[in-house]
């Protein structure tokens, strides 16, 4: 860990201002991801702005019937909120499938959205990694890639975004609200939050420097059977190999996003139209243009099988 200075702010606007004033600063929320990365000097902020006391820890009903989730709401509180459990079961299930009880107590909503990849080469500063050191190369593509992306990846990076919660939010059409140094508010549909790697895998999202997430909006409840199916090698405390977050209606239509396959929660709305026709066609459309490695080719079949399983579960 490199030494850094630290400041605690009490409003989101102050956070944005502080970030603007001190180049090389980072926001720290729960710190469950950032601190690990700092210890390994993968992240080297000169200044930390602690946003955990900004009061953004409320879950409120919105006038449109949806939900506004404060950026600092922790994963445990969000998963156990009665409206979330009743109307957004997909979100609660996705959250509870992630990490462990201790981590979820600490992890925040915005921190979860912006957590960084779990690519093992990204975590080892001796290895070539374009995301960590732009232009250095990518050791993962010819290396151990079983867990890595099969779609939306590039010759520069095949990392995945590891969040379970984000998959649910993508399927639920969430919107991220932000504020910047000038006090300007912005609404970013979650579909537009993440960037694919292209030739700049170190750029991961569309937030501007100093722009801070204040909340996440969920549209009014959409009903349906809400299923989060996370596939992993052990029964708990593991990142998804792949995951499927789905909302399925009695007529077989629905919405669907995938985790563990790309640098963002993967959703192709056109593919959803094929849901009533079965998992094979949906998968073909969802994963059209996939470019798996030899080691993660299996994910394509796994996605199809898991979608099939979800469709069958919804029928019960």
């Amino acid at each position: 860990m490199k030494s850094f200075t630290y400041q605690r702010v009490t409003t989101a606007l102050d956070a944005a201002k502080a970030a603007d004033k001190t180049p090389g600063s980072k926001f720290i929320a729960g710190g469950t991801n950032l601190l690990d990365l700092m210890k390994l000097q993968i992240e080297k902020p000169a200044h930390l702005i602690d946003i955990s006391k900004t009061g953004l820890n409320k879950i409120e009903l919105n006038t449109d019937g949806g939900l506004r989730i404060g950026a600092m709401v922790n994963n445990t509180d969000l998963a156990s909120h009665n409206v979330v459990r009743r109307d957004y079961g997909l979100l609660a299930r996705a959250l509870l499938s992630g990490a462990s009880g201790q981590l979820r107590n600490k992890a925040t909503t915005s921190g979860n959205l912006l957590q960084r990849t779990r690519c093992p080469y990204f975590y080892d500063t001796n290895q070539l990694c374009n995301k960590r050191v732009p232009g250095s190369g990518c050791a993962a593509i010819a290396g151990f890639s079983r867990q890595l992306a099969i779609i939306g990846s590039s010759d520069h990076c095949i990392a995945t975004h590891p969040s379970d919660m984000a998959v649910a939010m993508r399927a639920l059409d969430a919107t991220v609200e932000t504020v910047n140094v000038r006090g300007e508010h912005r609404k970013i549909p979650i579909a537009d939050l993440y960037l694919l790697p292209g030739s700049t895998p170190h750029l991961e999202n569309t937030l501007q420097p100093g722009e801070i997430i204040t909340s996440v909006l969920l549209p009014p409840p959409i009903g349906g059977k809400q299923i989060y199916q996370k596939i992993r090698d052990r029964a708990s405390y593991a990142f998804a190999t792949i995951s499927v977050g789905a909302i399925i209606y009695p007529d077989g239509s629905g919405k669907l996003a995938l985790g563990g396959v790309a640098a963002k929660p993967w959703r192709i709305e056109q593919a959803e139209a094929l849901l009533p026709k079965g998992s094979k066609l949906v998968t073909e459309r969802l994963l059209a243009g996939a470019r798996p490695t030899g080691e993660n080719q299996y994910k394509i079949m796994l996605v199809e099988r898991t979608i099939e399983s979800v469709i069958q579960q919804a029928k019960r």
């Binding site: 093992p120 050791a139 151990f144 029964a235 405390y237 399983s309």
Partner: protein, 739 residues
């Protein structure tokens, strides 16, 4: 005391304390955080400095320069130790690895420097500022490729010749009506114990004291002396509590060498803990194997020939993984052949991990047995029973001291309701899950080693036992206390046990499943002497008194035990040594594992549903600690079967998944109800305790039982561990098919 004739009846047979399911006497210390582990000691006189180990960033090559200016000018940094200022260093006698690299680098994350600073954070920040220039060279990282130039060699263990043949294997195999010839692979595995390697080192002139985490104190002293080139008499090692080891802390590794060097060069007491990310490549691991099994049998299921060839790799001077050991003892069969090959690899050093050799060997052999049973259309339990032997199959003159393999299999089958298993693979479904059952035999040698102990009796009636035996979470403290209590006729709360300090009498430590039997036998010997001293004090003939309820009596003469120490503490020390019984008899422990798994028919995720182990391991000194050993081992077997794998990146030459997020071991949710049946049967050829070890037996065979259950559930045979879901998905497995 020399043990050279089978034991008769003795004081242990009273079983007033021994054999009882007594809670661990160190339990309260551990659950309340008062057991002090290596890194936690507060060394009174000095404020310690902190060391941070820097691991090599390449797999093989040479260090051209280590630029230290930036690190040294960081506030708090006291010094940097590298091969150029460390002085001459040798290697230890068990591990072959050089524990401080330079200028040559032998493997990834080999220690190349230690940064010492006033605080841990400063040392870590300093470490990140070192800039190292390397010249890389080509290495050998791919076991399969390296196998082409592997040599057949003696792995250095007298009990395991590299090649062993009885009758003519090839001829026997060729003419067998039923044959199996398959390749099985096991991956590199990490011990991944909870407590990382850690040391606090302090020099007083020539004398070095290390608070460390080492399973075999005597090897630790020997190896550290050898490495540093100092007199072993000047070394004191203290490992009173060890947060898990599984063989990963057998003797000296880089943390203790680094701390000793750093303390010597800086003149400070230095604390070092090996950071978790270094444990996987810096230290040792269970090496990967490629094994070929050939079994030939007659139509009635009699094995006529059995062949087992195994390849593993290691750094120069490293051992081969002796996977064929079990194949040499487990089943009958006239024509036999086993062979070990060792290839040169430039990966980290492969060395002992819980049930070394047997665990990996049985992962292969016991799938092969299942496959053979299927070919013969025999029940896998029956097939194993059919090929049981009561004499050593390579040397029929040598009988097993005790061997209840058949009873283990039969008892287990009954208890597990084996008869409800579908004979056809993929014959049982429940919702989205395919269900299957599997079985495997277990066998593990029962070595016993000489061990010394000292016992003291105080005038308060407290008996203190002292030996450098370690407790790595197994229950050594407790069974040693039980032994002393039984021998001296007192309650267990009157016994104090001091372990893990090289200034105490020498034990063989915790390893090789020999700890329990060896250390309690040493304590037995010392107690026999103490009893004689007590008898003398009371004017009794040696060996005539009864010790019970805190009293010592001969006929109607009865004294309080404590009275014997009225005029001063009574102290006895002795060592148990052994004669030829282990040559005369094959001494092993046996068992059977039964497992039920559920395989998700969509995702092929595998979840274990039920597990049962039946173990036959001599006298069970404490059923509670024994059971804990077995269920812990079964858990490790689940890891070996389903998830544990150090992934080799053959481009870079390292284990990629070097943290606990990437190297997955089972979590609670993976472990179902576990049953353990201990088939008690005393073995008087072992020692007066009539006990054997059990800590490794519980692991052997578990992974194969799971693999066999997966086959029974899915009809897919996976011969490459771990059985991850993608291997089933990519096999002939078909979602729709349903027999």
């Amino acid at each position: 005391m020399k043990f050279d004739k089978p034991a008769g009846k003795n004081a242990i047979d009273q079983l007033k304390v021994v054999g009882k399911p007594i809670d661990r006497i160190d339990g309260p210390l551990k659950t309340t955080g008062r057991a002090t582990y290596a890194y936690e000691h507060q060394i009174a006189e000095t404020k310690p400095a902190y060391g941070y180990i820097v691991g090599a960033g390449i797999a093989k090559g040479r260090i051209e320069a280590i630029h230290q200016t930036a690190a040294k000018s960081l506030p708090g940094v006291i010094g940097v130790i590298t091969a150029s200022n460390a002085g001459p260093l040798k290697t230890g006698r068990f591990y072959a690895d050089r524990l401080l690299a330079g200028p040559d680098v032998d493997h990834y994350h080999q220690a190349i420097a230690i940064v010492v600073a006033e605080s841990f954070e400063q040392a870590r920040a300093g470490a990140a500022l070192l800039r190292v220039d390397y010249v890389k060279s080509k290495g050998s990282f791919d076991l399969k490729k390296a196998g082409a130039s592997a040599t057949i060699l003696n792995p250095g263990r007298p009990s395991t010749a590299a090649t062993a043949e009885v009758s003519s294997f090839e001829d026997g195999f060729k003419s067998a009506p039923f044959k199996l010839d398959e390749i099985y692979t096991t991956p590199d595995q990490s011990h991944a114990m909870m407590e990382p390697h850690a040391t606090i080192a302090k020099w007083d002139g020539e004398k070095l004291t290390c608070w460390c985490s080492i399973q075999q104190i005597n090897w630790g002293v020997r190896d550290l002396a050898n490495i540093l080139g100092i007199d072993p008499k000047n070394i004191r090692l203290i490992s009173a509590f060890i947060g898990g080891g599984f063989g990963g802390k057998g003797t000296v590794l880089s943390d203790i060498v680094a701390a000793s060097l750093a303390a010597r060069l800086t003149g400070r007491t230095v604390k070092i803990t090996l950071q978790r990310t270094l444990m996987f490549n810096n230290t040792i691991h269970r090496p990967a194997t490629i094994q070929r099994l050939r079994i030939g049998a007659d139509a009635d299921g009699t094995i006529t020939s059995i062949g087992h060839e195994s390849l593993s790799g290691n750094i120069p001077r490293g051992f081969a993984e002796y996977t064929t050991t079990s194949t040499r003892t487990l089943y009958a069969g006239k024509n036999r052949m086993t062979q070990l090959k060792l290839a040169l690899l430039n990966l980290p050093e492969g060395a002992a991990m819980r049930a070394p050799g047997e665990a990996s060997g049985m992962m292969a052999l016991e799938i092969a047995m299942d496959e053979m049973a299927a070919k013969l259309k025999m029940d896998p339990v029956e097939f194993r029973i059919k090929n049981d032997t009561q004499v050593h199959p390579e040397n029929p003159k040598r009988t097993f001291s005790t061997r209840l393999l058949v009873e283990c299999l039969q008892t287990g089958a009954k208890k597990f309701k084996w008869e409800s298993r579908s004979k056809q693979p993929r014959g049982k479904e429940e919702g989205d899950w395919l269900l299957g059952m599997g079985v495997a035999s277990a066998v593990r040698g029962a070595p016993i080693m000489k061990c010394a102990a000292r016992v003291r009796l105080s005038n308060k009636g407290i008996v203190t036992v002292e030996t450098d035996m370690t407790d790595i979470g197994t229950g050594s403290y407790t069974i040693i206390a039980q032994t002393a209590a039984e021998m001296m006729g007192i309650e267990i709360n009157k016994v104090v046990v001091k372990l893990g300090d090289s200034s105490l009498p020498e034990s063989p430590g915790s390893a090789g499943q020999w700890g329990a039997a060896s250390s309690t036998s040493g304590v037995y010997a010392a107690c026999v002497k103490l009893r004689e001293k007590v008898e003398q004090m009371f004017g009794f003939e040696p060996g005539t008194a009864e010790f019970s309820d805190g009293k010592v009596s001969v006929k109607n003469k009865k004294y309080s035990l404590s009275k014997a120490a009225d005029s001063g503490e009574l102290i006895s020390e002795d060592e148990m040594t052994y004669g030829e019984l282990s040559r005369e008899f094959a001494q092993d422990t046996f068992g059977a594992h039964f497992v039920e798994v559920a395989v998700n028919k969509y995702s092929c995720e595998i979840r274990v549903r039920r597990m049962l182990a039946v173990c036959h391991a001599g006298r069970i000194l404490n059923p509670k600690t024994a059971r804990s050993q077995v269920i812990g081992a079964m858990t490790m077997g689940v890891g070996a079967a389903l998830m544990e794998e150090l992934v080799v990146d053959t481009n870079v030459g390292f284990f990629v998944n070097h943290d606990l997020a990437g190297y997955e071991v089972p979590v609670h949710a993976d472990i179902p109800h576990q049953d353990v049946i201990l088939l008690e049967d005393l073995d008087p050829t072992m020692s007066p305790m009539k006990a054997k070890g059990i800590g490794e037996l519980g692991l052997v065979g578990v992974a194969a039982a799971i693999a066999n259950a997966v086959y029974n559930a899915t009809g897919v045979r996976i011969r490459e561990y771990p059985i991850s879901l993608h291997k089933i998905l990519e096999s002939s497995y078909n979602l729709e098919e349903n027999n």
